[in-house]
């Protein structure tokens, strides 16, 4: 998954410094993607080199990074781009949707639809292959079925995310992403 774009997303809200980016990244991804601070700084250096962020020039750990307009364009393009392989890994989609919830000016439901369309197009291609395959080619049919069921699972997750976000948007209050579960409530013995 792309640390680069996740950092751009966090910076799209306001300028931030490295340690804060690391902490927010882990919080927003439900702490399932641990990220060390070294990775954060290396990535920030590359982003700066590529003109996607600028730093405020102060030294040290409190140095603030700000997203540039090129950075914003890069981020919005990434959110809508299907993951690189034809068969999208679910986790990268999860990240994109989580990120899209937070990025100002991005309609997360449009992002969901872009990915839903891409997955259904892939399913159409597999189904076409199944429809045209020889009836006695059981092996091929089994492989295609396995892929179709996996892809269907992704579409169902996107549908569920869509309806969950739709309900949130319809209810009074915020459309904030759900916060990660608190870890400090220990189970009493």
């Amino acid at each position: 998954m792309s640390v680069r774009h996740a950092l751009l997303a966090l910076l799209s809200e306001e300028p931030k410094y490295g340690l804060r980016l690391q902490r927010e990244f882990e919080e927003r991804t439900g702490e399932v993607w641990p990220l060390n601070v070294g990775q954060v700084y290396t990535t920030l250096q590359r982003l700066e080199r590529d003109g996607l962020v600028v730093s405020d020039g102060t030294g040290g750990a409190q140095k603030d990074f700000t997203i540039t307009s090129a950075g914003r364009t890069e981020l919005v393009d990434w959110l809508r781009t299907p993951p690189s392989s034809e068969i999208p890994p679910r986790d990268e989609l999860v990240i994109k949707v989580l990120v899209a919830v937070k990025v100002p000016g991005v309609d997360v439901r449009d992002v969901i639809q872009a990915h839903r369309r891409h997955v259904v197009e892939t399913m159409q291609t597999f189904t076409q292959l199944k429809a045209e395959s020889r009836p006695d080619d059981v092996g091929l049919a089994l492989v295609i079925d396995a892929e179709l069921f996996r892809l269907e699972g992704i579409v169902r997750w996107l549908d569920a995310a869509d309806s969950r976000l739709g309900q949130l948007a319809a209810s009074p209050g915020s459309v904030e992403a759900p916060q990660p579960a608190r870890q400090d409530a220990e189970v009493r013995q």
Binding site: V120, E121, Q128, E152
Partner: protein, 241 residues
């Protein structure tokens, strides 16, 4: 060639005043002969309303529906009923077979209602059952048929005679995935033979049988797939089959 089905800026409002519900908003849809289109959306997105309006079972509040170039709004009640009997085949989620009639009688019923002589209608019914691999079940009653067979009889009834528009609402109903696939293959084949088909479903595996998939959200068409690329595109991407 004139498209088989055209919906132009179709809106549907149920109720009025404070309880007004906008089931469809400015929907455009064109389906050609030989084409199978799927409409996907969650429940409440307007899928079933779209299908009943396309099939002239319900009127649009605004906009125009043309079937084979003829505006439905310009037809009399009788003309509409005749057009439905002759040109449109419906497949419903729960099959809707008549319990007291055999498979052949169920299939030939729309033709007989349309005044076709019994012998001719039954022959056409049997032919449709044969196309769907059900010739040996021609004299069975619905209760004696499995769920998959009942749905195939329902598909036969939808394609019998010279029907040109095929409309299906969640056509796999409660069938398992193998039977669901059989139904979709049959609908696809019927369209390959020249019918125009519209399937509404929330099931992506069923929708994937269509040439085009349209996405409905809150009564609006929000997106559609581009025609699928050939299977070789999967190989280009390095997918190991």
């Amino acid at each position: 060639m004139t498209p088989m089905l055209e919906m132009h800026q179709v809106s549907k409002i149920h109720g009025s005043g404070p309880i007004e519900v906008h089931a469809l908003k400015n929907v455009n849809l064109t389906v050609d002969r030989g084409e199978l289109v799927a409409v996907m959306g969650p429940s409440g997105s307007g899928k079933s309303t779209l299908l009943t309006i396309a099939g002239s079972l319900e009127d649009a509040t605004e906009g125009e529906v043309l079937i084979d170039g003829a505006a439905v709004s310009a037809m009399s009640r009788d003309q509409r009923a005749r057009m439905r009997r002759r040109s449109i085949g419906y497949v419903f989620q729960d099959f809707n077979l008549v319990a007291g009639l055999t498979a052949t009688e169920n299939v030939s019923l729309p033709l007989e209602l349309d005044g076709v002589a019994t012998g001719t209608a039954r022959a056409a019914g049997l032919e449709a059952l044969r196309t769907l691999g059900l010739a040996d079940r021609a004299t069975a009653f619905p209760d004696d048929l499995s769920g998959g067979e009942q749905q195939r009889v329902a598909v036969a009834r939808a394609i019998v005679g010279h029907r040109r528009l095929l409309l299906a609402d969640e056509p796999s109903g409660a069938l398992d995935s193998a039977n669901g696939e059989t139904v979709m293959r049959l609908l696809r084949d019927a369209c390959k033979r020249g019918m125009a088909g519209v399937v509404v479903t929330h099931d992506s595996q069923l929708a994937a049988w269509a040439d085009r998939v349209l996405f409905l959200r809150d009564g609006r068409m929000v997106d559609q797939t581009t025609p699928p690329r050939g299977p070789e595109s999967l190989l280009d991407e390095g997918v190991d089959l």
